[in-house]
Symmetry: C2
Subunit: 247 residues, 2 copies
Amino acid sequence: MNYPVIETLLNHRSIREFTDQALTEAQVRLLVQCAQAASTSSFTQSYSIIGIDDPEIKKQLRPIAYNAPYVEHNGYFFVFVADQYRNRCIGKKMGVATDTLDTTQRLLVALGDAAFAAQNMAVAAESMGLGICYIGSIQNAIDRTAEILNLPEHTFPIFGMAVGYPAQNPEKKPRLPFDVIFHKNHYQHQIPAEKLSAYDQEVAHYYQTRQGNNRDETWTEEIARGLKAPARMQLKPFLDHQQLGKR
Amino acid sequence: MNYPVIETLLNHRSIREFTDQALTEAQVRLLVQCAQAASTSSFTQSYSIIGIDDPEIKKQLRPIAYNAPYVEHNGYFFVFVADQYRNRCIGKKMGVATDTLDTTQRLLVALGDAAFAAQNMAVAAESMGLGICYIGSIQNAIDRTAEILNLPEHTFPIFGMAVGYPAQNPEKKPRLPFDVIFHKNHYQHQIPAEKLSAYDQEVAHYYQTRQGNNRDETWTEEIARGLKAPARMQLKPFLDHQQLGKR
């Protein structure tokens, strides 16, 4: 067994404060190479990676993403894009109809391909002593994100990833108990109540005792709080506009 | 730098033939633990993993997935599920409204969480000497898959993953050139034609010379062929029925 891999995976925590040190071009190329090595549905490779080192563009993205400082200050910033535009270009060049690109299947495949690639990059980065943080909040103003990145039709920016040398060493966040996330042979409709209750105490303790941003909240309280308002309601009209997932 | 991780990532190839050796429960637990260590949007952990060792269930899933033998014959079979049902149960228990679970944002978050977890599992498995193959084709008859797995509303089975000890050692499939997948600071609307053309030759050579299932086709020809018919047109109505991504 190749323990360094397991150790890298289990040691993950998101990093939200980086040193000023920029990634080298060789590091960026290796990260992208590792991302590309992931599985891709039907070999379509339906995603793109935008690599951002221009401080001006990072500064433009930051206010979209809750004004998080680490969107602007990091070693490098990547945006993962579900991409059927490349396939459309190829279809047009090859003289075949491309109207099948607007299906839900095509959207899901592109989302999956991009996410597999991104997670490979995250693992590679952490193995190189770098830290990462996914930035889903670039979708908070998706039209503006698409405008900044000059995205064409048939593309969809799913998340950013801030990468860099960690300037913090946060605690690991406890995950749900095995029996809550895992279902044997069939989906178990009943959440194991005792396991969830023990986990609530574990998360409450984590929030009370971690280095900063302390609060009193269990995991189920946090989930319930998140249910109050619908979020990012411009995503569906944006996908429609991009000709993705229409049918 | 932690080379074993990079090596594991770059050495990926999908495995479609496994020995009869089943995974142990300890292996399954370690794989799930590694999957769970991945990032999760807003700490919601909006996915479930169904672990299948019942030969009867594997046999039922196989005809849905192009009758692929490795869906039935493997060391273990996992299904990754985008899951907002758990959040609904918690919301109900906590006495808050749960109607915000039907948004596109909630669907995308669950798809991402599940994909990050799955890719971590894939990497962990390969580091343990196991092979994996994603099985997107469990969506070919999504109603039937949901029925077999007893899935409730607010869940969506995204893909399976066959895991086991490899009984084959296939060639690595070449990936798109860096300059085709990677865009510097902004999306580049023009595909670098020479790079793509060289890649077409590389893929054609791969298909001509690999161990089995040889054919004459470039990558752009394969992409164009895939554009001909819309696929899995029941996905959108199924998502609607599951109360996912409705608005």
